[in-house]
Amino acid sequence: MTSTTANLPATGAGLALRKSEGQWAIVLRRFRRHRLAMISLFVLLVIFIASLLAPVLAPFARDATGLAPRFSPPLTTNPQTGTLHFLGTDHVGRDFFTRLLYAARITLSVAFAVATASTLLGMTLGALAGYFRGIVDSIVMRVLEFMASIPDFPILLIIASILITDPKLLPYPPVLLQLVGGLMLLNPVGIEREQVLTMIVVLTLFGWTGSARLMRGMVLSVRERDFIESARSLGASNTRIILRHVVPNAFPPLVVAYTLSLAGALTAETALSFLGVGITDPTPTWGNMLQFATNFMLTNPWVPLIPGIPVVLCSLGFNFIGDGLRDALDPRLKM
């Protein structure tokens, strides 16, 4: 843990070779050296900002059909409004560029929601299990073992296919529905919001194990250290010890795991929507756009590229950023 000691001010002794930098400054400096990670960060930022500005940038309404002939090639002018279809139109004449932007918003939001929720859940359970040991630990460990020894993708598909066909099965609080709907600009009528929320819940259920295991291991290795004991002897509460002393120590690997779980959540959502057990048309996601695209690719070969390229850019991007962070956060890798 050399990086934590770097946080201390360089007190005299003339040991500091250069002006003392904070831990995050070092991390940032190292991260900037990872060229692919920097490129990925830039590309992802562009996609992210574009998705945030979707309602501004989109030239058409999300589900507006019949504006132009189906499968108009890119850069066709709309015969009615005179607006340009940057990427052409899809199989029912909806504007591809518009749908791609809205899909980016939905797909990325789902990925962030799943990664955040599952990391938080895993962190909490892992920290509790590692810190308190005993019954909590054995329950969490049994569940982890159980999850590790089942074929998770088929089960994920089964659960998704059941819940997605009837998303009203789960009682969601209206606040949550409004939050998700507002964030992803979903249609409040129909089952769109429920479906997206179900997707988040299902993927979170299967996504928390990694960070739980990581957190538990970190807590186990940290809890016996002297500084925890001194904190306790100073009268710090369990909550304070976990939040102020244990979690920061487990932070570097968790940040990496979080970035990689973004990639995992994104590809999982895309795969489910592609296989038809995820978010379904007319709610656009890159996965279901790709599904329709493959159905028509024999006659319109450019079509699968439109949702395909953002998928692969984001998947690779998150992976590279995770890799860059791993290099930057690992103090053993002196460059």
Partner: protein
């Protein structure tokens, strides 16, 4: 050792039981299925016919309680009234309800009982009702939607060969390519070769097979065909009719050449994807071993580098390799669901996803149960193999 194996085996059975019961309950309480399909069919033209509904409910055991239904699925019993010495035991034991509603039972002695079922089903009603031999006898029942009334095992059998071929070839290729690359990358750590292949491997694992598959079809099947180059088929496992491709000439439908021709693209996609994991594993395992004292000793006593690498390092680096084989076993059977879907490969993974979208639950459960069983057996197998290849580890 024997004790350990027995304990593990009991655990596997218990686990498979839990999984099967959970998935059975889950799937049969889910919407969809034959009844709903009938309702949606009939509601458009006429009101649902009660007789038809009852017939379907009886046919698929939908009128029975979930426990009884699970038992009939698991062991093929009960099959009707239980008879001992010609005497029926509890023939009027209620095991389900054909039609919900209020009803009154009038007993011969004048007692009246109110029950919450208009048409209760009793044990004796099961007499003569068709039933499978039960999952324990490897009879997974009959398909409800995909292939009406065909045994699920038939459906699986016809597709198993395709999946085994696809997964077997791609797994073998991935390992066969990964070992030399991983070893060389480790020996020449931080060399240009190492960077190149580590980056390639990173791309391979970062790109979803969904994308590489679709792009592969786009490039090699569509664009190559358009350009008059020797192209590859866009899907399926064999052609329906003879095809002539540029340069290579005629390919007869169903011939060995035809099968190989269809195999190239999906196998490449899968190999490219899984190559990364294998390479990274071998590389790190090899790096770990190269740092060991016995490797230094081997070098110090003057062995040539090739012997040090191949005999002293590689053999030890491959020890943890057997733990990964645990993951291979279930995928050999289960196939790659996404890749098979992209290439319309007639394998088990495609069957599973079809069964889910068509709500054909017996097929889906059979798939899940076999995968679970194989996953657990794979873990056991890799543990056992580990003790065989590494005598330092003992099972307790």
């Amino acid at each position: 050792m024997l004790n350990y194996l027995l304990r593990r085996f009991v655990l596997i059975i218990a686990m498979a039981f839990i999984i099967s019961f959970a998935s059975f309950t889950l799937l049969y309480s889910a919407p969809g299925g034959p009844l709903e399909q009938l309702a949606s069919l009939q509601s458009t033209t006429r009101r649902p016919d009660p007789d038809e509904i009852e017939r379907i409910m009886k046919r698929y055991d939908l009128d029975l309680d979930i426990g009884i239904r699970f038992l009939r699925w698991l062991i093929g019993h009960p099959r009707g009234a239980i008879t001992i010495n010609g005497q029926d035991i509890a023939p009027t034991f209620q095991i389900g309800c054909l039609k919900p509603g209020k009803a009154q039972l009038v007993y011969p002695d004048g007692r009246i009982e109110e029950i919450n079922c208009a048409k209760p089903v009793y044990l004796r009603d099961l007499n003569g009702r068709p039933v499978s031999n039960g999952v324990v006898a490897l009879d997974f029942g009959r398909s409800q939607q995909l292939a009406r009334e065909q045994p699920v095992s038939n459906l699986i059998n016809t597709r198993l060969g395709h999946t085994l071929l696809l997964m077997g070839v791609s797994t073998f290729l991935a390992i066969a390519i990964a070992i030399p690359i991983g070893v060389y990358s480790a020996v020449k750590q931080y060399s240009r070769f190492d960077y190149f292949f580590t980056t390639i491997a990173f791309f391979g694992s970062g790109m979803p097979t969904l994308f590489t598959g679709v792009m592969g079809i786009l490039l090699f099947a569509l664009i190559f065909k358009g350009l008059g180059l020797p192209y590859l088929p866009a899907g399926l496992a064999e052609s329906n009719r003879d095809v002539t491709i540029p340069i290579f000439g005629l390919i007869r439908a169903g011939s060995v050449a035809d099968r190989i021709w269809h195999l190239i693209l999906p196998v490449s996609v899968l190999t490219f994807f899984s190559l990364a994991g294998w390479t990274r594993f071998i590389r790190s395992s090899m790096l770990e071993v190269l740092r060991q004292d016995y490797v230094r000793t081997a070098r110090a006593k003057g062995l040539i580098e090739r012997v040090v690498i191949m005999k002293h390092a590689l053999r030890n680096a491959l020890i943890p390799f057997v733990t990964l084989l645990a993951g291979v076993l279930p995928t050999l059977f289960g196939g790659a669901i996404i890749t098979e879907s992209v290439f319309s490969w007639p394998g088990i993974g495609k069957l599973f996803i079809n069964s889910l979208t068509a709500s054909d639950y017996p097929v889906a459960i059979a798939y899940l149960l076999i995968s679970t069983f194989l996953t657990l057996v794979g873990f056991l197998l890799s543990d056992v193999l580990y003790t065989i290849v590494d005598p330092r580890i003992r099972m307790t």
